[in-house]
Symmetry: C2
Subunit: 258 residues, 2 copies
Amino acid sequence: MTDFTGRILPLLWRRSIPAPDRKTGRPARLTIDDVVATGIRVADREGLDAASMARVATELAVGTMTLYGYVPSRPELIDLMVDEVLGSRDLLPPAPGDWRSRILRYAESTFTIYREHPWLARTSQQRPPIGPGMLADREYVLAAISSLGLPTSMVNTAALTIAAWIAGAARNEAEGILLRRATGETNDDWWSQRGELWEKWFDVESHPAMTALWNAGGFTRGADEQARDAYELGLKLLLDGIEAASPAQQTSGTDPRR
Amino acid sequence: MTDFTGRILPLLWRRSIPAPDRKTGRPARLTIDDVVATGIRVADREGLDAASMARVATELAVGTMTLYGYVPSRPELIDLMVDEVLGSRDLLPPAPGDWRSRILRYAESTFTIYREHPWLARTSQQRPPIGPGMLADREYVLAAISSLGLPTSMVNTAALTIAAWIAGAARNEAEGILLRRATGETNDDWWSQRGELWEKWFDVESHPAMTALWNAGGFTRGADEQARDAYELGLKLLLDGIEAASPAQQTSGTDPRR
DNA sequence: CTTCATTACCGTACCCCCTACGGAAAGTGT
DNA sequence: ACACTTTCCGTAGGGGGTACGGTAATGAAG
């Protein structure tokens, strides 16, 4: 079978390479894409942990060890799943309009994939799989930022800032979805259940700011709404600040949304 | 032994409650604090996965199942570890100075605990353990924001925004530490290893913005430096934006740092 | 001092996971 | 029919979490 010597890149970029087209030997029953797609399907429905080697193999009606002929090990399978999902976004061709609406489209798309594949929230951001999907993602953000005319040294910084904010919010939402599935209660259910016990242990004396804000009605919105508010505030501040740092503002006036 | 009926709050708040002081029966060899402290110690040194029930028990020279007399199950142990660590910060009494320096102190402190306990990056942000440590954390941020005089409806939103940005950056850094430990290579090592293969698979045509930025020297800084730059840019923009939204600016002029 | 009630300790067993190894199986070409 | 190549996968070994039920250690009562 294929010899993976610690390298996952040929697998990530397998579609850029002509298939080896073997003539001899026992024909394979599956393709890598079958394995990756099944992993994604199981993870979508039952979470990342459920997408075990044994489970994916069973789903494909194949022995567990057969998968190791397609993929070096489970971590690599997960990398392939991540890149596959990132590559499934319809970001290209670049959205028309100014940079802001392009970023907003990116944000929408990011939230969408995290909602469809909430297990993404449990994969590492550092050292992502360097495959076509992930690069297309970066390219889109960089293209949007580049149109601003920022100094070169700031372009990637600004892109990382915006992407990190959006991904963080999407991950938080996805984490909430996972927890709702796992526990059967929503975030708001959960917080209000604890609310009952606040009376019992919460020490008013040592939490004056929190108490004051509570009494002033500063906690009336639900947890999910608060998270949304924070996301939108942060995004607005970051976009405004970056736009203000650019020499030539193409859009004048304040942003019409909100 | 103690009967946990699905409730972890009494464990989190155990220090606010007088010990039951049993007179009869076999005396316990351990305390919950022993178990939690050992869990933290193991996780600090070898990662969250290493802090298994079996391992923590061995460390305490006790049978695995003995731990279940102190803690309902492993997830609860981890919650207790998280709250313990959050509570170990020296945030109180509130730092002197304006709100900005208070937030910067919070940020420093957050980075410190994530560096000392990088496994925190692998614990959920949504639905954190509602214990004394986590509440003290929130209280500090709310107190700092409150001094700004923002409209009530915006206080918690601003606090969440800032806390989320800081925690996200601290988590990213911590994730890097975990990966360095696990793989033995730094982030920059890792990226430069991949760099060799860019020539092989990267398609210049479909990544014009990235290619242009590369040629302009926009990727000369290392991955960790880029992440730091992005963190600092984001923090500055968020703080500036929030300050600008407050009616009474106590500090006038631009911020002296940078 | 014995016995009992109470509490804590923990060995065993079951189920699930990942994966190294090596032999069996299923094709092609001769 | 045979060799050759490639794929399939059973077995086994090392982890992990935790339910169950028996055993050990104490204070109190007799």
